[in-house]
């Protein structure tokens, strides 16, 4: 039976009526019209769907709506905009750290969670934090460089 859930997404309150086992990914994309979290596998394997739940990087494709509660959900859109980008977004643009760009949401959101806990990661720290985020185009080197650039505040 569908229920109404009260969500806190990117600092705003939203009511969503859906089955409790609906993966958060589809709620974000279809009920809230957000593009950041992406469908890559639906299996929690690739990380394209990553968002933050109370600051932790989670795979929205395997998190059911019923598990979210009133936790703070932050998506790529919640970090910044083209006009006012977050330092991570600005770094990814400056480094041109994207080819097709489809994996980049997962990279940025996972990096955000990393930098919140470890503001000065080594390249090895970054590679380890992204160990379960897949990039198929081979943009890995630029992604690490972009995260490092954001960490250095440049």
């Amino acid at each position: 039976m569908p229920q109404t859930f009260h969500l806190n997404v990117n600092g705003a309150a939203h009511n969503v009526t859906a089955e409790g086992d609906t993966p958060l990914l589809y709620v974000l994309r279809n009920d809230l019209g957000l593009n950041g979290s992406k469908f890559g596998c639906g299996l929690g394997q690739c990380g394209a769907c990553t968002a933050l739940l109370n600051g932790a990087a989670i795979r929205t494709c395997v998190i059911p709506l019923s598990a979210v509660g009133n936790a703070s959900v932050v998506t790529l859109e919640g970090l910044g905009t083209v006009e006012r980008p977050h330092p991570l977004q600005r770094a990814f643009i400056a480094e041109q750290a994207a080819q097709c760009g489809y994996c980049i949401n997962g990279m940025i959101m996972t990096a955000k969670a990393l930098l919140d806990h470890n503001p000065h990661p080594t390249d090895a720290d970054i590679r380890q934090a992204l160990a379960h985020n897949l990039c198929r185009c081979g943009t890995h080197v630029r992604i690490v460089r972009a995260v490092q650039r954001a960490a250095n505040g440049s």
Binding site: P2, G40, L43, P85, Q89, I93, G101, Y102, C103, R136
Partner: protein, 724 residues
């Protein structure tokens, strides 16, 4: 300012006097390509599409440069069969060479028209005019006039003229600089960037249920319970094609799962043994054997002192796009519109129209970006799925998203290859005779191919269509034989292709086509010959080349990587070199891999890759670097980890755990040197970084261990077998 100009043939290459560039020849109307707007913007309607390779940004640079307008004024419009020029597919590393040539010439012709109009308006000779960001001034009179004032909808309503001079390549102010990609800002901030982001009013969600294997037949099907599920609008069965449409996406996914359970199939055992593809290929009764290149020396060759022979193999490889394929279809006023990340909007339209029984002008394909495709993936197939499901719900917009296992199991793969090489050498190691045989399938089964329909759902309908007959592509481009003809000079050689029309595993175009397997084999074998002759691998290659640009990339990478002639590995670390000229006509790449062998896990760790590349005139230096880095890392992933898995009934690699790819902890350092030649035409570089990778890694492995790896991928089973 233009002080002198270049004949189009010099600037663009491949264009004879009085001719137009190829894509302009077939789409001559200038207003099909460009629109100069009174608001100071320039719209470009290219037939090429963006999928992360940076083509659209590079084309914007080319057009802005030739027009003499600021880059910021360019507005690139997506390929759309309702009005874009037909440039066939965006593939084969041709967007800059072919697409760029046409657009550049069209821009030059438009600029010439604007100058002619300005000359008339200002009553001065055209030769006295100069342009800066669309502002025209004259050395013969005061005053100015702008493109935006002159422009009308009419002045480009004509065919392109031949003989228009182009600006010299060396004076580029936009071309040759690394402008930021136009599509990246939206992609990193959650803007609308992909086909998956398109939302139409009343849009429904579709999913397909594919047969469990290529040859599976549906024997029972009870959809009553599925139809009753929440939100389900329709369940479609047409032959073996099954699909479902629901109001909410998760409802469509749940209905798909239920539909999978409700269908009963028989599955024949029809696939070859995945461990014995080489023998399976070589035993094929229907092989079409062609000598694709033969040369014999008229000069008496030195005496052969040694003959060497080796066999190499490459498995089926998946595109494995990060975002599975997706399309949206809607029918309005009798017109079927599909938003698709296809590589070719026009060829797709042709096949869709045939299957749907519609005239061409009632089908409209609009390109929207998908995730990287690396060739012919599921993008075209899902467009037909969406059309069928859309029609089943009376034309309401339907978005069909392939699931992860749909993409892994059903996308067309890069074909497996089996290769024999035999060469005879003289006493000093010089190669006298070279014989090459390659067995493989077609590397092009794209929609729009003549004689059939290359769309998956069409083969499963109650009245099925057949796929087009497979055919080989002619050299120098080639298919399975791409780069099978070595770029080296041998007195005598014969290259033979055994083209296998029977395709037990679905195949089509996969980035670099046959070049990945062929260059692996050629460059490994060159290394084997060098070693037997006691000659350093870099030196050995230089001795067999007469092209200065080829020698330059090899010397450049050797210097950059500090290659020490004759250096041996130490059992743990080693290095190897590899070289190609893509399609023997495009970008040159030389590549050195430094590897570390972990004998506990039997893995090869690529620590560093150094590469040098010459692609003629560089449009976007950072764009080429991005593509080369990406191709090199993708090549490392293919070489070390990847192969499609199948048992006797079906493809079994259906998720990332059964098809692992390169991960961040496995990342090598990458160092690339670009050799820019602005005096030469630009050459395609999107694929050239892939083929040299496996040979360099295999040669590095030999350098470290004294053992050869001749079968891809170099996974732990291969490494262990080689070391024991």
């Amino acid at each position: 300012m233009v002080f002198f100009s270049m004949h189009p043939g010099q600037a663009l290459g491949h264009i004879a006097q009085g001719e137009l560039p190829a894509d302009l020849e077939t789409n001559k109307r200038l207003d099909a390509w460009l629109r100069i707007n009174p608001d100071g913007t320039v719209e470009v309607f290219t037939g090429k599409v963006e999928y992360g390779q940076g083509a659209i940004t590079a084309l914007a640079q080319i057009a802005a440069e030739e027009l003499d307008v600021a880059f910021e004024r360019m507005r690139m419009r997506p390929a759309d069969t309702s009005h874009s020029p037909n440039e066939s597919y965006t593939a084969g590393s041709a967007s800059i060479e072919v697409g760029g040539a046409a657009l550049r010439y069209a821009a030059a012709d438009a600029r010439a028209s604007l100058l002619e109009m300005a000359a008339a308006t200002m009553r001065v000779p055209a030769s006295s005019l100069a342009v800066e960001d669309g502002v025209i001034t004259s050395s013969a009179a005061a005053g100015r006039v702008t493109y935006w004032e002159l422009a009308s909808t009419k002045f480009l309503a004509r065919d392109a003229r031949s003989g228009i001079p182009l600006k010299p390549n060396s004076h580029g102010r936009i071309v040759g600089t690394s402008v930021p990609r136009l599509d990246i800002p939206a992609k990193v901030t959650g803007g609308e960037a992909y086909v998956q982001d398109i939302r139409l009013p009343g849009m429904l969600f579709g999913r397909v249920v594919r047969p469990p294997s290529y040859g599976a037949q549906l024997t029972a099907f009870d959809d009553a319970s599925v139809k009753a599920m929440p939100g389900v609008v329709t369940v479609l069965r047409n032959g073996r094609f099954l699909g479902v449409v629901a109001r909410r996406e998760e409802q469509a996914i749940a209905a798909r799962a239920a539909l999978q359970k409700a269908a009963v199939w028989t599955m024949p055992a029809e696939l070859p043994d995945e461990a014995r593809i080489g023998p399976f290929f070589r035993n094929a009764a229907d092989a079409q054997v062609t000598t694709v290149s033969a040369r014999s020396s008229s000069v008496t060759a030195p005496r052969a002192v040694r003959t060497l022979k080796a066999t190499y193999s490459k498995p089926y490889l998946a595109h494995a796009s990060i975002g599975p394929s997706c399309a949206i279809a809607a029918i309005e006023s009798g017109v079927l519109t599909i938003w698709s990340h296809t590589q070719g909007v026009y060829p797709l339209r042709t096949d869709i129209a045939t299957v749907m029984g519609l005239p061409l002008d009632k089908v409209r394909i609009i390109h929207a970006q998908g995730s990287g495709c690396y060739g012919h993936n599921g993008a075209d197939d899902v467009a037909l799925d969406a059309a069928l499901l859309c029609r089943a719900v009376g034309g309401a917009p339907v978005k069909v998203q392939w699931m992860r296992d749909d993409e892994f199991a059903w996308e067309p793969f890069g074909g497996a290859m089996s290769i024999d090489i035999q060469a005879s050498v003289a006493a000093d190691g010089a190669i006298i005779d070279w014989e090459y045989d390659v067995w493989s399938n077609a590397f092009n089964m794209r929609p729009g191919s003549p004689g059939g329909i290359n769309l998956l759902a069409a083969w499963h309908l109650a009245q099925p269509f057949q796929h087009a007959p497979p055919r080989e592509l002619p050299l120098p481009s080639g298919g399975a034989d791409r780069n099978a003809v070595p770029y080296y000079d041998f007195p005598s050689q014969r290259i033979t292709e055994h083209f296998l029309p029977t395709m037990p595993i679905r195949v089509s175009a996969h980035r670099s086509l046959g070049a990945f397997g062929n260059v692996f084999a050629v460059e490994s074998f060159m290394d084997e010959l060098a070693e037997r002759a006691g000659v350093d691998p870099v030196e050995y290659r230089l001795r067999h080349l007469n092209d200065d640009r080829a020698k330059a990339v090899i010397r450049s990478v050797a210097e950059r990587a500090k290659w020490r002639s004759g250096a041996k590995g130490d059992g743990v670390r080693g290095r190897g070199i590899s070289f190609l000229r893509y399609e023997n006509t495009k970008t040159y790449v030389a590549l050195i891999a430094d590897v570390l062998i972990d004998r506990t896990s039997n893995t090869i760790r690529v620590e560093r890759i150094t590469a040098a590349a010459d692609s003629g005139l560089i449009i976007t230096p950072d764009g080429i670097l991005n593509q080369l880095e990406g191709a090199i890392l993708q090549g490392a992933s293919w070489a070390l980890k990847e192969r499609v898995r199948f048992d006797r009934q079906r493809v079994t690699s259906r998720d990332w755990s059964s098809y692992p790819i390169l991960t961040f902890p496995e990342l090598p350092e990458i160092d690339i040197v670009l050799l820019n030649h602005p005096e030469l035409p630009p050459m395609g570089a999107g694929e050239a970084g892939l083929p040299p990778v496996p040979g360099a890694i295999a040669n590095a492995f030999f350098n470290a261990t004294g053992k050869r790896l001749r079968e891809l991928p170099f996974d732990s089973a291969q490494v262990k077998a080689a070391l024991t």
